[in-house]
């Protein structure tokens, strides 16, 4: 437990001191949301209709932008090898890395996204469901980004490959996320939110095992 806390504390300190992952993610997100109404023109009804989907797509892209940093630093400076030699299972190390990425990139975006949504005329009733769906969904999104980072660690220009590998896995998150954020059919939103939670929980179980196996085989 102490081991896990130490790793989490270090990674959070590095993430916030370098400021790169959060800065990149928020900056990209802001850019998309600001440019969208300029590109689409001042049709407020259209903007309100596409707002949840646009915010979700922006969230997915922003999280992916910072994904390839998750393991690359530790891989290059040799920390990753030492992390396999601790008393905690390597899978737990992965889980902590994913959690840190979520706290440093996914979660802040999920919290500010609905607020930025007002720039693209999101309807006020949608703000709370959108925030809830994004908080639940961003955990799974960060976990999948971790998996992508684990598979491509050590490759030059791994970022592009992460996107290609992981984007298909993001489709269900996008589908249920948008459904949970827009109350088109009464009752459908809560069902979609539960499906989204199920996806995140499934990722929580499977990603650490898969990512640990991928990283081990990279070091070999």
């Amino acid at each position: 437990m102490k081991t896990a806390a130490a790793l989490m504390k270090r990674d959070l300190a590095v993430a916030f001191r370098q400021g790169s992952s959060l800065g990149t993610a928020v900056g990209f997100f802001l850019t998309v949301v600001v440019l969208l109404p300029i590109g689409l023109g001042p049709d407020q009804a259209l903007l309100a209709r596409i707002a949840p989907g646009a915010l979700w797509i922006a969230l997915l892209m922003s999280v992916l932008l910072s994904a390839d940093r998750i393991f690359s630093d530790d891989f290059e400076d040799g920390s990753l090898e030492l992390l396999t030699m601790g008393r905690v299972p390597f899978e737990a190390v992965i889980l902590i890395k994913a959690t840190v990425h979520w706290i440093a990139a996914g979660l802040p975006l999920a919290v500010i996204a609905p607020c930025l949504g007002f720039l693209i005329n999101i309807s006020p009733q949608q703000v709370v469901p959108l925030a809830a769906a994004m908080i639940v969904g961003s955990l799974g999104i960060s976990l999948l980004a971790t998996l992508g980072a684990a598979v491509t660690v050590g490759l030059r220009r791994g970022g592009v490959l992460v996107a290609v590998l992981i984007l298909p896995l993001y489709v269900p998150f996008l589908v249920f996320g948008v459904a949970a954020s827009s109350n088109l059919v009464p009752g459908a939103a809560s069902a979609a939110l539960m499906a989204l939670a199920a996806l995140s929980l499934a990722a929580l179980v499977m990603v650490p095992i898969a990512a640990a196996a991928a990283l081990r085989s990279h070091m070999r």
Binding site: A6, L7, A13, V14, D73, E81, L82, M219, R220
Partner: protein, 198 residues
């Protein structure tokens, strides 16, 4: 306490680095790995640490804690220093202290005379100081096996003497050391394994 490897072979990138290498080290012994660049010294050390898997052969460690893997009973000091430049020297040490289950980060820094630099960002350290910070990890928690991959690279005379002292003390306390080095470490090796390379 005995570390035994028989008929070890390692393949990297589809190429056989070495094969049929035997390793034996008992408590209190220093085993030196010698050989030209690319002969597999680092690979053998990483193999013992459990980072690499043997393509053939068997590695066993008796007399330690049977519940733990060999890697979990070993300290590895490799070419890469595992130092985060954004954190201070002390913060780097505190992290590894927390991770390896020790709480004497400050005392460990003093082992190689880095106590005065504890507040500096690790990014401004010189190569030799980074190596000393990396070596200081050896003292975070007691682990019987030390795996040192060219630990003396970049060290000044005083630090070399400190390293030799620390190694002698570790051997005296019953630990074992597997070290790769091209130059004299200042400690008499009980056995030298010649890796040939090709």
């Amino acid at each position: 306490m005995k570390l035994v490897g028989e008929g070890l072979a390692v393949e990297r990138g589809g190429r056989c680095v070495f094969r049929d290498v035997d390793v034996a080290a008992a408590g209190g012994e220093l085993v030196l790995l010698a050989g030209p660049n690319g002969s597999g010294k680092t690979s053998l050390i990483k193999l013992i640490a459990g980072v690499l898997e043997p393509a053939a052969g068997k590695l066993s460690f008796t007399g330690g804690d049977d519940e733990l893997t060999i890697g979990q009973q070993a300290h590895l000091i490799g070419h890469q220093q595992a130092i985060k430049p954004a954190l201070t020297v002390l913060e780097n040490m505190q992290f590894w202290a927390g991770f390896f289950g020790g709480d004497r980060a400050m005392a460990c820094l003093d082992a190689f005379g880095l106590g005065e630099l504890s507040g500096l960002p690790a990014g401004v350290l010189s190569a030799g100081q980074r190596r000393r910070l990396s070596l200081s990890r050896l003292f975070l928690s007691y682990r019987p096996i030390w795996l040192l991959d060219e630990p003396n690279v970049g060290l000044d005379g005083a630090s070399l003497a400190q390293l030799a002292n620390h190694m002698r003390e570790h051997l005296k306390s019953g630990g074992l050391i597997v070290a790769a080095a091209h130059t004299d470490l200042g400690v008499k090796a009980h056995r030298t394994i010649e890796l040939e390379g090709k």
